[in-house]
């Protein structure tokens, strides 16, 4: 459905996007993961035809965005990073304008009613956009992208600035939309992408660093070798027992957090899943494990891991 070939975008000396290629199948929800300034928005702007690539091509359902822009753009619904809203219009006026702008052939009133119901902006349709809250503005932006029922939806950080309840609503909505649309969604939050997407592309500094299913990716990024534990038992003995587990590299004592219970972070050799050995070691000492969780990787850690780990192919393909 979407083919991106060797995309390069050069801003002066800075390469915002550096040789990115990928394909998105019809009906797929693709997550675009990267820190701020990684080139996500630039890539999306190129896909939607807002910017032109320095090199490379983008094809939407066989229509090249540069050669056949009108046909390609008709297939795309785009929600940019800042929803492109006219503050002096009411929601209804705005959506009607977008409807006319996109030259949609569907019955106007029914179509707009349906979309407003879907993104839940029914109750603010008569209000001026400038008076809406951030969450509503975002939803009006989403409604704008949905008008005309485009086959491809490109959503640039759709949940930024929303409260947790709204975030969940939007995620659910995107998932639902994914059943009938091809979706590209960008985010700098890993769990968000994991929750919504069937496939994830990670970019950093304009480079594609990983492309795969979220579970593959999380296995790739598995931090099972790095655990945080809370154990009830004598601190010294527990620490010694942990340190004696085969493959263990580092045990850090975090001190007493509950009466009689101590926290530890332990780190084994990379790729070594030590959860079972930890359990057995503690069980044999008779010290109950009150909690055990993988140390969370921050996004920065992930990029460091993906970009610096010599076993990972830097130019994509990881996890493929």
């Amino acid at each position: 459905m979407i083919e991106v070939n060797h995309l390069v975008k050069q801003y002066g000396v800075k390469r915002a996007v550096d040789d990115i290629s990928f394909e998105v199948e019809k009906g797929e929800i693709l997550g675009f993961l990267g820190p701020n300034g990684a080139g996500k928005s630039t890539t999306m702007n190129i896909i939607t035809g807002y910017l032109s690539a320095t090199e490379g091509t983008v094809t939407i359902d066989g229509h090249e965005i540069l050669d056949d822009p009108t046909a390609a753009k008709k297939l795309i619904g785009y929600l940019p990073e800042f929803p492109p809203l006219y503050p002096d219009m009411t929601v209804n006026e705005y959506l009607e304008f977008v409807f006319d702008l996109k030259k949609v052939a569907l019955p106007k009133k029914a179509h707009l009613d349906e979309i407003c119901g879907l993104v839940r902006v029914d109750d603010v349709r008569g209000r001026l956009i400038k008076n809406l809250s951030k969450g509503y503005k975002q939803r009006v932006g989403l409604a704008e992208a949905l008008i005309g029922n485009p086959e491809v939806l490109i959503l640039d950080e759709p949940t930024v600035g929303l409260d947790p309840k709204q975030i969940i609503e939007i995620r659910t909505l995107v998932k639902k939309l994914g059943e009938s649309h091809t979706v590209i969604l960008s985010s700098h939050i890993l769990p968000e992408v994991q929750a919504v997407c069937e496939r994830v592309i990670v970019i950093n500094h304009g480079l594609l660093v990983a492309d795969g299913r979220p579970d593959e990716l999380s296995r790739e990024l598995s931090s099972d070798h790095k655990l945080t534990l809370r154990v009830e038992g004598p601190e010294k003995k527990v620490a010694n027992a942990l340190a004696s587990i085969g493959g263990m590299e580092k045990v850090v004592q975090l001190g007493e957090r509950e009466p009689g219970c101590f926290d530890f972070t332990v780190e084994a050799e990379s790729g070594n899943d030590i959860r079972r050995s930890v359990f057995r070691a503690m069980a044999s000492g008779g010290w109950p494990i009150l909690s055990m969780r993988s140390s969370e990787l921050s996004l920065e850690d992930i990029f460091l891991q993906l970009t610096e780990d010599p076993t990972t192919d830097n130019k994509g393909g990881a996890g493929k």
Partner: protein
Amino acid sequence: MTAIMRRELNSYFTSPIGYVYLAVFYLLCGFMYTQVIASGYSSMSYVFSYIFTFCMFLVPILTMRLMSEDRKQKTDQLLLTAPVSLTEHVMGKFLAALIVYTLGIAVTILQAFVISLYTTVNWAVFAGSFVGILLLGAACIGIGMFISSLTENQVIAAVAGFAVMLFLSLFDSLADLVSISWLKSVVLGMSFYTRFYDLTLGVLDFADIFFFLSVAAVFIFLTSRVLEKRRWS
């Protein structure tokens, strides 16, 4: 195109700009008109030559936010990613400004009609003048829109527009400073006032009409090139 035009037209009248522009225009027109009537003339030509001077200074108010506002609010992302060509995009904006402008100059029809109740009006001369002022407006709107596309700040667009209009309205006086005869005729040929003056005489000269239309067309084209160029940089 019609969607963009209608939205732009609406925005003139949901913001004060459209009202302020028309109010000032009608006020100035009315003032000149009473001056002409009071001094016992029945010809609208005087009114039109006054309009020439101040309409060039009012047009930047119409055009200042035409392109700059979209860029500032990032609504250009909506317009440029919609299945609309750049020409349609620019033409929609241009026509919206031209319609408001026409609403302004249309007051002269009313004025001429009032005169016609008391004495005969030379409608041919009036028509020529009206077409002249309309084409002048089209050219000025084209230029103003182009200036607006270069910046995302309305104020800069307006001030730069005033400066350019000032220069253009004084262009024919440049001719006096030039002694080389061919250069002089080039300068006069490019002078908005000289072109306009011919039309107010009731002479619908094809060259004059073509001049204004081509200025408008060139700047409409340049505006679309500015939008296109921004995608590449």
